[in-house]
Amino acid sequence: MTTPLLTLEGVHTHIGPYHILQGVDLVVPEGGVSVLLGRNGAGKSTTLRTVMGLWTASRGRISFGGREITRLDTPSISRSGIAFVPENMGIFTDLTVAENMTLAASRGGMDPKRLAWIQDLFPPIGTFWNSSAGTLSGGQKQMLAVSRAIIEPRQLILIDEPTKGLAPAIIKSMTDALRQLKETETTILLVEQNFAMASSIGDTVAIMDDGHIVHAGDMAELVADVDLQERLMGLSLEAHQ
């Protein structure tokens, strides 16, 4: 449980003239849920996109399962066992829900058991199976985005703010789902603003600000330390949950 699955060492990312990530060091241990927190614009999404190869790190090193992936192209990174839920969800609105799911399942087609599990977690996926994904509601799209990432077993899932726009009941299902995945030895790197949710499943946590990791440690430690929360995130748990 402590061997790192994904590590970022001194990763810098430039987007055009902007220097966004300024030396990110991050370790995601195998088999757990790591949470990445931080204010708007801190660079969380950029970190995930850099791991996926959607931005290229200008300096530093990213390795996954012991293998360096810094310079691989996105399809290769994906095939090496990483699934990705982008923050804009990346739904193919022209296609139906079914087609969206089909594409997410690699050549072999979908495992019916797993599909049933997903449809039970997120009932709208079943209900709107043949509807155009563009007509789904905001929350339903979010469910589809997560469903796509979990339709097949992957070693690592990068999830960017999956709970935004979800009703409390569904957040619960989502949390359940992530827990179940964790039990199947899937590692999860989660970016979240919903601290209550994040703290309930996170094993380790890292906090970003201005393109740096400003804190990394165990989730339990952060939950216990209200001062630390206050300082790092400007929030106090009591006020909001």
């Binding site: 708007n40 905001g138 703010e161 726009g165 009703a167 299902s173 929030l235």
Partner: protein
């Protein structure tokens, strides 16, 4: 009979997509100066209901009334002109313009200057000032010159709210304004909404999934479920209802246990 209409009212509005009834005979009145929270599971029809009110979708049947006047057939800009404004759930901005330009465009729309062809845009000082003011309120002033498409997601959400505030209509509809916003930004937005309601006497419709937000802001809650209005009333009372507990919050009602 009475001269005092509710500012906004829907009567039996319904919309079908193919056979699917997304909003099902919803009748509801929104009194002036109140804040109504609309809750319901994902896909309940909340956004669609907003679309029917602001005109992006046209009702299959039923009526939408503003100040007692029927606006069911009015176009989107017409409704905006009459005082309905909304922010979108999935951010919907002018991506290749700067943040500042986005807000100015809204101020300009509000001032009805869109067809002014022979004055210089930069000579309308009052619009520029208005835009700066709103940007300051949502804490985006520093990012004023950035192109919107390069903003982080949370900042785009803030700009989404800023546009609606700059438009400053009589009826404001927020669709999950705080989704994706980091915890330190949320109170800023909530304060803005509170100010709009209390100091400016605006009528607000708010879709939110965060119960604490609703508790702290709402005068009233209506619950949509599968397109139908299933409950309506004081926040505390509504949240306690079994249907809300079960279908929305995902708690198994104690009675059934």
């Amino acid at each position: 009979m009475t001269t005092e209409h509710p500012i906004l009212e829907t009567r039996d509005v319904t919309i079908r997509f193919g056979g699917h009834v997304a909003v099902d005979h919803v009748s509801c009145a929104f009194p002036r100066g109140t804040l109504t929270a609309i809750v319901g599971p994902n896909g309940a029809g909340k956004t669609t209901y907003f679309n029917l009110i602001s005109g992006q979708l046209k009702a299959t049947s039923g009526q939408v009334l503003l100040n007692g006047a029927d606006i069911t057939r009015a176009s989107v800009p017409e409704r905006t002109a009459r005082g309905i404004g909304r922010a979108f759930q999935l951010t919907n901005l002018f991506p290749s313009l700067s943040v500042r330009e986005n807000v100015r465009l809204v101020a300009q729309a509000k001032a009805g200057k869109g067809f002014d062809m022979f004055s210089m845009a930069d000579s309308h000082i009052e619009l520029i000032e208005r835009a700066e003011h709103v940007l300051a309120e949502v804490r985006l002033l520093d990012d004023g010159d950035r192109i919107v498409s390069a903003l982080s997601h949370g900042d785009q959400r803030k700009l989404e709210v800023a546009l609606l505030i700059a438009l400053g209509p009589q009826v404001l509809m927020f669709d999950e304004p705080t989704a994706g916003m980091s915890v330190d930004e949320v109170p800023v937005i909530l304060d803005l909404i509170r100010t709009l309601k209390q100091d400016m006497d605006r009528t607000i419709l708010l879709v939110e999934h965060k119960m604490d937000v609703i508790r702290s802001l709402a005068d009233r809650i209506i619950v949509l479920h599968n397109g139908a209005l299933v409950a309506e009333g004081e926040p505390a009372a509504v949240i306690a209802m079994p249907i809300v507990q079960e279908a929305y919050l995902g708690k198994v009602p104690e009675a059934a246990q």
